[in-house]
């Protein structure tokens, strides 16, 4: 009876919440108050797929949901992206019958790295994807190893781990777990033999602290590594990107499936590959997966094109406090051969919490913008002076830099007849301050 009431209450609250445009975590929160063990009382589907990692969780989950749904599976998933235990509870109860049976073939959960251990105590994934562990929101997360320790507690015996072979820290999760499927990229055309970036988190072996050797770097410390002191090394991937043609914007998976990229960058390739792997493990044929991914248009608005007067531009949503995310955006701007102007905005560090810490600016490889084709760089927002300090050490000539206190001023400066495309690099917390002043 308690189960029945809890489910009813959760469904009604969610229904009201949707009308009022509220988020999805409150109904679950109340459900857990009424019946703390409600998640143990419901009947879950045979497949429970969880996705976590620093970057790309939402994109990966959206893609998996798209592939599976298009291929006839009924998927229950957290579309709103609320990824802590309350949001997951709302999802589960809202997808359940009043008798407590989840009406889906597959439950698909995006999970916050730090809270996975609480959520999965009740809902144990059958398949668990970990995409990457980067320096991300360190003002909350401490550092990647701190997150690693928290995530380790969320891995229960018997789960099928699906891990990124190219990320040394992620591959450590395999240690005591025998059931691992690896995904990764083979040596790619644009790989480098030398490390390129500010900090090298793969320099030393996570186990024995000896120097690691890299046969190639895809970007930052992601690549093919092996330890010079013990037997720790990158594992051979079962699902792999065998070719990446960024001029054409096409990657090849497992030597035969071509997938077209929405953005000609490595930005999304691991999300695609992780989704491909999961869908294949659930039993979808590889040809069908590739077809679904090719027809998929991401709705999350990470990349927005706009016009400002006669000028064209692209806003690349990057994550503040996440240097790898910024580095990816910088690469895209740097690859613009026709020449471009770049605007970087740091106005609020986070939309969810307060901090004025800008240490992370020093981890970003802004030096990548020191190129002929980058005609100028505008630095704007509350923390424009901190940006200016950081840029004074990039080697970019001072006459190419302009520091502006507000986004409004930056828009005014850019609103002219120049021919170059504009690239805007900023975060969720700041992007609307720009987009509301241009035509989308």
């Amino acid at each position: 009876m308690k189960k029945f009431i809890t489910i009813i209450v959760c469904k009604i609250l969610r229904w009201i919440g949707k009308i009022l445009g509220k988020g999805s975590s409150l109904p679950g929160k109340i459900a857990l108050k009424i019946c703390p063990d409600i998640l143990e009382r419901v009947t879950l589907p045979p497949y429970i797929i969880a996705v976590t990692g620093s970057n790309g969780k939402t994109s990966t989950v959206e893609m998996i949901a798209h592939i599976l749904t298009e291929n006839g599976k009924k998927v229950a998933w957290n579309k709103e992206g609320s990824n802590q235990i309350e949001g997951v509870t709302t999802l589960v109860l809202n997808s359940a019958t009043l008798g407590g049976k989840v009406k889906a073939d597959i439950l698909l959960i995006e999970s916050d790295e730090r809270f996975a251990r609480y959520t999965f105590r009740y809902i144990k994934p059958t398949h668990y994807v970990i995409t990457n562990l980067y320096r991300d929101q360190l003002t909350r997360n401490g550092h990647p190893n701190w997150v690693y320790e928290a995530l380790k507690d969320s891995i229960y015996p018997g789960v099928q781990l699906i891990l990124n072979a190219d990320d040394p820290l992620v591959s450590c999760f395999a240690e005591e777990n025998q059931k691992v499927i690896w995904f990764g990229a083979e040596r790619l055309e644009q790989d480098t033999e030398e490390f390129c970036g500010i900090y090298h988190d793969g320099k030393y072996c996570p186990h024995c602290k000896s120097l690691m050797e890299y046969r190639c770097f895809h970007y930052d410390h992601i690549g093919h590594y092996s330890c010079t002191g013990c037997d720790f090394k990158r594992q051979e991937a079962e699902y792999k990107i065998t070719k990446a043609d960024l001029r054409e914007g096409v990657i090849t998976v497992n030597s035969e499936h071509e997938i077209h990229l929405q953005l000609k960058s490595l930005y999304n390739i691991y999300n695609i590959l992780a989704a491909f792997t999961v869908a294949s493990l659930v039993g979808i044929k590889e040809e069908k997966i590739a077809k679904s991914i090719n027809g998929f248009v991401a709705k999350n608005g990470r990349v927005v094109t706009f016009t400002l007067g006669n000028r064209k531009g692209t806003l690349l949503t990057s994550k503040h406090e996440n240097s790898i995310s910024y580095n990816q955006s910088i690469r895209i701007a740097a690859a613009c051969e026709e020449g471009c102007e770049v605007l970087i905005i740091v106005d609020a560090v986070s939309r969810k919490y307060f901090t004025s810490d800008v240490s992370w600016l020093w981890d970003i490889y802004f030096e990548g913008l020191n190129r002929e084709n980058i005609k100028s760089v505008l630095l704007a927002g509350t923390y424009c002076n901190d940006l200016a300090v950081r840029f004074s050490f990039t080697g970019i000539p001072e006459e190419k830099l302009q520091v502006l206190e507000t986004v409004e001023q930056a828009v005014e400066v850019l609103n002219n007849d120049k021919k170059e495309e504009i690239y805007v690099i900023t975060c969720f917390s700041d992007k609307d301050k720009f987009l509301q002043r241009v035509v989308r």
Binding site: R135, L138, T139, R140, N141, G142, H143, N145, W146, E149, I198, Y199, H200, K203, Y204, K209, L211, F354, T355, S356, D357, V358, S359, W360, L361, W362, D363, T382, Y383, N385, D386, A388, V389, R390, S392, F393
Partner: protein
């Protein structure tokens, strides 16, 4: 002037290299030639003939690796600090200079015993937050961010008073350590970049060491409006934002 950046490749979690980039630039502006020695984990440190030692924050695991590595050079390091050697250790790096360090699993590690404090780490929650810290030798407060998992008991000479943020001890109102010319603080990342006035005091001390007289008032002013102009503007904004936050 020889500046040693200890274990720059592992004690580097929050962009600490920025401190050395700026410090050497400002010293050069003051007419002091600098040699920046970037010491990797794979090399044994040499403190002889060094004028300044810097170390930044690392993972708890790497902190222990560094502790073990430095144990070999323990006496030399003690000697350096006790004889008035200059240094700045930020983040969790200065924790290893105490008597005892108890890690997240309860394991006890013998410290380098330069100082007599005890460090207790825990893994329940990460201790993070913005900070405003004041110090007697400094007219303007220091600003920054603290990111740690420990509390320290038994610091006899703290460096700062806490205006906003966390101190050495739980609920404590003092932060870091200060011994003659050596400073330890949990402020992380490029704290010298964020704090031009703190940096200026340090530069002034190092200038005095080199040529026996401090920076004059005019020289300080010239640095603040010249090479440190952007840093000073950024500092004012951060202090303003943090004060606003404090009042809330």
């Amino acid at each position: 002037m020889k500046i040693l950046h200890l274990y720059h490749d592992v004690m580097n979690l929050y962009g600490e290299y920025g401190n050395m980039v700026l410090l050497t630039q400002v010293l050069n502006t003051c007419g002091i030639e600098t040699e920046l020695i970037l010491q990797p984990l794979t090399q044994r440190p040499d403190f002889s003939e060094v004028d300044f030692i810097y170390m930044g924050a690392g993972t708890e695991e790497n902190q222990k690796v560094v502790l073990s590595a430095l144990s070999e050079a323990k006496e030399e390091l003690k000697d350096y600090i006790f004889k008035g050697g200059y240094g700045l250790w930020t983040g969790n790096s200065f924790e290893i200079l105490g008597k005892l360090l108890v890690d997240c699993e309860g394991k006890e590690w013998k410290g380098l015993e330069v100082f007599s404090y005890t460090v207790r780490q825990q893994k329940k929650s990460r201790l993070t937050g913005d900070a405003i810290l004041t110090s007697e030798g400094l007219k303007e407060p220091a600003v920054g961010f603290i990111n740690k998992c420990s509390y320290i008991e038994g610091v006899s000479q703290p460096c700062f008073r806490v205006l906003m943020g966390m101190g050495n001890e739980k609920e404590g109102k003092t932060e870091g350590i200060r011994y003659e010319n050596f400073t330890g603080t949990h402020l992380t990342g490029p704290m010298l970049v964020k704090n031009p006035y703190f940096l200026l005091k340090l530069v002034s001390d190092l200038v005095k060491k080199e040529r026996n007289e401090e920076l004059s008032q005019e020289e300080r002013q010239a640095l603040l409006t010249g090479v440190l102009a952007k840093e000073t503007a950024a500092y004012e904004v951060t202090l303003r934002e943090l004060r606003k936050r404090m009042e809330k």
